[in-house]
C-alpha cells in the first residue's frame, strides 16, 4: 500500500468498499462505455445488496455512471441528478456465480445505442476489480490505462495489438487472454503504463476479426455532467 492510500484517499463516506469502491466501479464502466449512459440496469449482489442501502452503494454506483469520482460531494444527490438528466435507472438484486461479496452487474446503454455489460467487484480499501466484460472474464483494477479487445479466436490478433502498442511506444504492464471456446469469442485485456492514442484505438476497431474495442483512459472526461 502506498502512503496516500494510508493517509487518503479523500472520499465521500461512509465506506471505502461500499461507497468509494462502488463509485469507482460506476466510473470505470462509464469510461468503458465512452459515451453518456442513457439506461442502466444495476444488479446488486451479496453484501452490496444486503447493506448497500445504508452505505449509499446505489447512489455511489449511479454517481460513477454519471462520471463522478469518489470525492465528488454530489454523490448523495446522484439519483436525483440522473433523474433530471433523464437517465433510466433500474435496481434489482441478483445472485452471481463465484462473485466476491461486494459485486455488481451493470447492463448499460449509451447515447448512440452502444451497449456494455460488466461485473465489478469492490475488494476493500477503494480497490476494485472488473471481473467480466460482455460475459467474458476480465481482471483489471482501473488504476492503469486499459485496452480491451474482443476478437475471434484466430491466430495473429495478439500480434496486431501488441505491435501497434510497440509502434506507439506504449509499454504493457499486464496482459490477459480469455476465450469461450476454440475458434469462438475471445478477449484480450492489456493494462498499460502510458495512454494509447485515440487514433490507434480507432484503427484497431477496423481490423478483421476484431469484434469490439473498449478503452479505459485515466484522463478525466468530466463525464456526462
Amino acid at each position: 500500500m502506498q502512503l496516500f492510500d494510508i493517509i487518503g484517499p479523500v472520499m465521500v463516506g461512509p465506506s471505502s468498499s461500499h461507497t468509494a469502491g462502488a463509485v469507482k466501479i460506476g466510473y470505470v464502466a462509464h469510461k468503458l462505455l465512452s459515451e453518456q449512459v442513457v439506461k442502466a440496469e444495476i444488479f446488486l449482489h451479496g453484501s452490496f445488496l444486503a447493506t448497500g442501502k445504508g452505505h449509499g452503494t446505489d447512489k455511489a454506483i449511479v454517481a460513477g455512471l454519471l462520471g463522478m469520482q469518489p470525492d465528488d460531494v454530489r454523490i448523495p444527490e446522484s439519483l436525483e441528478i440522473a433523474d433530471k438528466m433523464g437517465v433510466d435507472i433500474k435496481f434489482s438484486g441478483i445472485s452471481l456465480k463465484d462473485a466476491s461479496p461486494n459485486s455488481v452487474l451493470l447492463k448499460l446503454t449509451g447515447k448512440s445505442g452502444r451497449m456494455l455489460e460488466i461485473v465489478g467487484e469492490s475488494l476493500g480499501g477503494s480497490i476494485i476489480n472488473i471481473a467480466a466484460i460482455d460475459g467474458l472474464s476480465a481482471n483489471f483494477s482501473g488504476d492503469r490505462p486499459t485496452l480491451i479487445v474482443h476478437n475471434l479466436d484466430q491466430p495473429g490478433h495478439v500480434a496486431e495489438v501488441t505491435s501497434m502498442l510497440s509502434h506507439k511506444s506504449v509499454n504493457i504492464a499486464s496482459m490477459q487472454l480469455y476465450r469461450e471456446n476454440r475458434g469462438g469469442n475471445a478477449v484480450m485485456i492489456l493494462e498499460c503504463d502510458q495512454e494509447i492514442p485515440e487514433s490507434a484505438v480507432e484503427w484497431l476497431k477496423k481490423l478483421e476479426g476484431v469484434v469490439k474495442v473498449t478503452y479505459y483512459s485515466l484522463i478525466p472526461t468530466g463525464g456526462s455532467l
Binding site: 500500500m1 502506498q2 502512503l3 496516500f4 492510500d5 494510508i6 493517509i7 487518503g8 484517499p9 479523500v10 472520499m11 465521500v12 463516506g13 461512509p14 465506506s15 471505502s16 468498499s17 461507497t19 468509494a20 453484501s47 444486503a50 447493506t51 442501502k53 445504508g54 452505505h55 449509499g56 447512489k59 470525492d71 460531494v73 454523490i75 448523495p76 476493500g124 480499501g125 477503494s126
Partner: protein, 289 residues
Amino acid sequence: MSYRLLREILSDAQNENLKFWQVILNDNCRENRITEKESFSKMTDMYIAMKEADSNYDSKAKSASGMAGGDGKLLEDFRKQPNRLIGDFLTKVIEKAVKMGESNACMKRIVAAPTAGSCGVIPAVLITYEEEKKVAQDRIIEALYVAGGIGEVIAQSAEISGAKGGCQAEIGSASAMAAGAVVYLEGGDNEAIIHSAALALKNMLGLTCDPVGGLVEVPCIKRNVSGAVNAIVSSQMAIAGIRSRIEPDEVIDSMKRIGNLLPECLRETSKDGLAITSSAIKIMENISS
C-alpha cells in the same frame, strides 16, 4: 513501499541522519518518482481536506439509517460548559472525533486515514493540536508523514481493514499512527515515536468489528473517540519515558495473528457481537420498515 518494520525506518533515519518524517517523505518520492515538494503538497491537500471536513460538520445531518447524527453538536455544547472534568484539549479531541465519524456516516467528504471507518482519529488529534497549541501547519504535515509511515508498516506487516483484522486493524492502526504523530510534535525522539505507537496499539488488540447492520455507524463512530484519546494518553506515557515491554514490531505481528484468529462472525460480517443484540435487531427492524 519498502518498509515492513518500524525498526527499518529508524535505522534509515539514523544512517541517513534524517528525521522519521523525512525518511517517509523520501520513500514516497522514490516510489512515485515525484519531488519532495510534490509529495509535501499532496500531504498538505490531505490535511486541508481533513480540516474542511471538520469545519463543514452539519449538526442536522442524519445518516440513511437514522442511527448517526447530532452527537457532535452535543459535545460542542458540552465544551462550552464550565467545570468540566477534563480540559479543553481532550474535550475538543472527543468532539472532533465524533463529528468526523458522523460526517462519514452521513455521506460527507472525509479523508480515509487509514480507512473511512477510522477517519476521525487522526484529524481529531492533529487539528486540535494545531488549534490549541498554535503550531505552524507544516509541522502538522510532517506529523502526518510520521503517522503515514507507521500506517504503511502496519498495512505491510498486518492489516488495516476490519474485514480482515477486526476493529483493532482500523481504529487500532489509526490510534497507533496518531500516537506516533503526537510524540513527534511534542519533540520526542524516534524511539519514543514507535513506542507510543506500540502502547496505543496494545490497548486496542483484540477489538472486534461487529457493526450494527453492517453500517459504519455503531459502534464505529464512538470508537474513533477511544482511538483518539488512546493516542493522546499513549503519547504522554511515551514522552514520560515509558517503553512498551513488547518490541513495537512484535506488537504489530501480534495484531496480525490475533486478526487471523478472530472468527469471521466478528470481522465486519455483523453475524455476532453487538450486531445481534436485541437493541441492534430493533434498530434494524425500524430501518427496514
